[in-house]
């Protein structure tokens, strides 16, 4: 295995981590706001707040880890993506700021105002939308390298069906992932009203999630035929992912083993996410940037990998402790502590 592959695998793994934990967070914020809107707050808010409060900063670090790591491992991405993404990334920062300030002002500062709750809920939809644009851009065709520098073709980007399909996929996935997780969490807490409501959301969002995911593969055919071919070559992986999807939906529909259902869901996204990543190989940005021509110096690569392993050894037990105290601790989940 080359350093390039290790580097991108590590980053992709952390991005996957972010996709899952952030989806739970974003979706929860949206469901929370929606329950306030429809006066069902008494059912959902407690369970959502209880899970979200101790972990949100950790969620954010996954993202920071990814973008710091990618500049470390693949410094040329700073030049290409950094220049092209000024506006979309700045907008994402502002949206992330809205979420951060919700915690700062509402959760910690007890400044209760429904306006914040709505803003917070909506930001949970806009952030995945704005971040997913990066994936669209990576498919190529939207960034041009001119003598004056890198420029992003906004008109082409926002009129492309691919852009909007990926946006819709990010939204449906967020709501689906979040609903399945929260169903499990609510069930653990013994809160039947919340479980039933969230289970309903999970089932509702499962269908659009899988349809848009499939739709994107089809769209790739016209947008980036090389990538499409590579996706098709990996069909067994997507097949496994689909089977895991069916299992999750089955378990949720039958009201069985919500914990297992969530694990299946993570498996479904893990396989699909890595299949997509592998099919993208070796490009970081079609057709300008591959993981090979953008790679960092060898000395840095070794240092980063060593630092990563050391950091990981520190992180895993800490994360385990966090989960044990707030996720797997019955008393906490049920609100006794």
């Amino acid at each position: 295995m080359t350093y390039e592959i290790i580097g991108i695998a590590v980053l992709w793994l952390f991005l996957f981590g972010y996709v899952i934990v952030a989806s739970i967070d974003f979706g929860a914020g949206f469901f929370n706001a929606y329950s306030v809107w429809t006066n069902k707050q008494h059912i959902l808010s407690r369970i959502i707040q209880r899970y979200l409060s101790p972990v949100w900063e950790v969620t954010n670090v996954f993202l920071v880890f990814f973008f710091v790591g990618i500049v470390g491992f693949f410094p040329k991405t700073a030049y290409y993506y950094g220049t092209a993404l000024l506006v979309p990334a700045s907008i994402a920062i502002v949206l992330l700021a809205i979420r951060g300030s919700y915690y700062a002002f509402t959760t910690y500062g007890s400044l209760r105002h429904n306006g914040w709750t709505y803003l917070y809920g909506l930001s949970g939809l806009f952030i995945p939308a704005s971040l997913s644009i990066v994936l669209t851009i990576s498919e190529g065709g939207f960034v041009n390298e001119l003598p004056s520098g890198i420029s992003l073709d906004y008109w082409k980007l926002f009129t492309s069906p691919l852009t909007w399909s990926i946006v819709v996929l990010s939204l449906t996935s967020v709501l689906y992932i979040s609903a399945v997780f929260l169903t499990w969490y609510a069930n653990k807490a013994g809160d039947h009203l919340a479980t039933n409501l969230l289970r309903k959301y999970a089932l509702i969002w499962s269908v659009p999630a899988i349809i848009t995911a499939t739709g994107i593969i089809v769209e790739m055919r016209t947008h980036n035929p090389i990538h499409f071919q590579r996706l098709v070559d990996l069909w067994p992986l997507f097949g496994i992912s689909f089977l895991l999807f069916i299992s999750t939906v089955y378990l949720v529909a039958k009201r069985m083993r919500y914990g297992l259902a969530f694990i299946m869901l993570v498996g479904q996204f893990f396989v699909a996410f890595f299949a997509y990543g592998i099919s993208h190989y070796p490009y970081l940005l079609y057709p300008y940037l591959t993981i090979y021509d953008s790679f960092t110096s060898e000395g840095m690569a070794v240092a980063l990998i060593v630092a990563f392993i050391a950091g990981f050894c520190l992180l895993v037990p800490s994360l385990y402790l966090l989960l044990r105290l707030f996720l797997f601790n019955k008393d906490y989940v049920q609100g006794n502590r």
Partner: protein, 444 residues
């Protein structure tokens, strides 16, 4: 928008973000240590007041952390968005500490979450206190790693250029650059110092506003003692910084000091104004001061600005920032000293309203000194991003929408700043110490 404008707006936006972020970052680095000390004393003395001090500081602290996470994410991304050419080079050579910083923060965030939600979950109070250790370590190491990156920008090393290619990259050598020891030490000491003064301000303010509770008196004395220790440390390290600058960045020191001609036995200029380019007026001159500051020897030669080409000299207004930083730093050290000695010798004047107002001012003044210090060191490195290698003007983005982003972020910081002030004020006004102590007693 031409490239010059992109450079200009990129600089303004970075300056704005950093100036805003440094407030939260400084508090974020310093306060965990203060909480730790208070809780430790509380457990050791079995004194409810100190425990409550730790609890209340924590409540305020998490709000600043939450905002700090936001502004930290902003600057983290903005580095790549606004300075893509710099980050491309940095990624090759100095990415390691940036990467380690995310781990440090990860660590801090996990344990802060646990610490925060487990106040009454442990039978043994010491176990709960232990959870704070990784928070404090993570916070301080975040500062260490980021400061290392900044130090590298001042004295880049650990790599070679050969035909436009970077070769022989040694990340550890890059991290252990000459600017690192003094910079890291100075940043940490001043963060602890500033945090202590801010907490002292709050204590003094409550005492002035009619509360005469032991709680505030204990808080004030404790924080002033800590502030004294770290102001002395900051001053000593400041002296080392002068010697470092004289050796590695003489143009920076010369610009701080308006030292135009290379000479032996150079005198130190304090205050004053600059007229007609290089005529200093109304300055206080300390004979041999600069030679002592730079080399520890009154007759040593100090390199002046005459040794450098015109286009490699930083703007000279930074002398005013230097004066501001040093004056506040020294003034606060004296203030803390008088207070602590005054308590020991049981003097009454330190409890007077006037003196308490001075303490109230100390927190904001310390923060102003932090700001002045960062402006000083950043502007003092100009025209370089990486001293001697990459000019700021060559490092900025070519994207022409930076001005719009500047407006966007200015709005964001305004909302965050006002929001945090309102929330912090409400939090402590709605739940005064007396009330909370009473509630806690009834609970037992």
């Amino acid at each position: 928008m031409g490239n010059e404008q992109s450079v200009f707006f990129s600089r303004v936006l970075t300056e704005l973000t950093l100036s805003f972020h440094i407030i939260y970052a400084t508090i974020g680095v310093g306060i965990p240590l203060m909480i730790f000390i208070a809780q430790w004393i509380g457990i050791k003395k079995q004194d409810e007041h100190y425990i409550l001090l730790a609890r209340r500081w924590t409540r305020g602290f998490v709000i600043t952390v939450a905002v700090g996470v936001v502004t930290g994410t902003a600057i983290g991304l903005q580095l790549s968005l606004l300075w893509p050419n710099f980050m491309e080079l940095a990624g090759n050579v100095i990415a390691l500490p940036l990467f380690m910083e995310t781990f440090a923060f990860f660590f801090e965030a996990i344990f802060l979450g646990i610490y925060l939600y487990t106040w009454d979950r442990f039978e043994n109070q010491k176990k709960h206190l232990l959870l704070l250790v990784p928070v404090a370590i993570g916070a301080s190491f975040s500062a260490v790693f980021i400061t290392i990156v900044n130090a590298f920008m001042n004295t880049p090393q650990g790599f070679e250029f050969a035909g436009g290619e970077l070769i022989n990259v040694q990340p550890i050598v890059a991290m252990l650059n000459p600017a690192m020891p003094t910079k890291v030490a100075h940043v940490l000491a001043t963060a602890y110092m500033t945090s202590a003064f801010i907490l002292a301000s709050i204590g003094a303010f409550r005492l002035l506003k009619g509360s005469d509770h032991q709680y505030h008196k204990k808080a004030l004395f404790l924080t002033m003692k800590i502030a004294l220790v770290f102001s002395i440390a900051a001053a000593v390290i400041g002296d080392f910084s002068g010697k470092y600058l004289a050796e590695y960045q003489p143009e920076k020191l010369a610009a701080y000091e308006w030292h135009f001609e290379t000479e032996e036995g150079a005198s130190l200029l304090l205050y004053g104004v600059l007229e007609d380019g290089n005529e200093v007026k109304y300055a206080i001159e300390i004979p041999y001061g600069l030679s002592i500051l730079a080399h520890g020897n009154p007759n040593a030669e100090v390199i002046g600005l005459d040794q450098f080409p015109e286009d490699e000299i930083p703007p000279l207004y930074i002398h005013y920032l230097f004066d501001l930083m040093v004056t506040i730093g020294m003034g606060l050290a004296v203030l803390a000293l008088i207070y602590v000695v005054g308590v020991w010798t049981k003097r009454q004047f330190i409890h007077s309203r006037g003196f308490r107002w001075l303490i109230v001012a100390s927190g904001p003044l310390a923060m102003l000194a932090i700001e002045a210090g960062w402006w000083l060191t950043e502007v003092g490195r100009q025209p370089w991003v990486l001293r001697g290698l990459l000019r700021t003007s060559e490092a900025a983005t070519t994207n022409d929408q930076v001005d719009t982003m500047l407006v966007l972020f200015a709005g964001l910081y305004l909302v965050l700043g006002i929001g945090s002030v309102i929330v912090l004020k409400r939090m402590f006004r709605n739940n005064p110490v007396e009330q909370e102590l009473q509630d806690r007693q009834e609970k037992r």
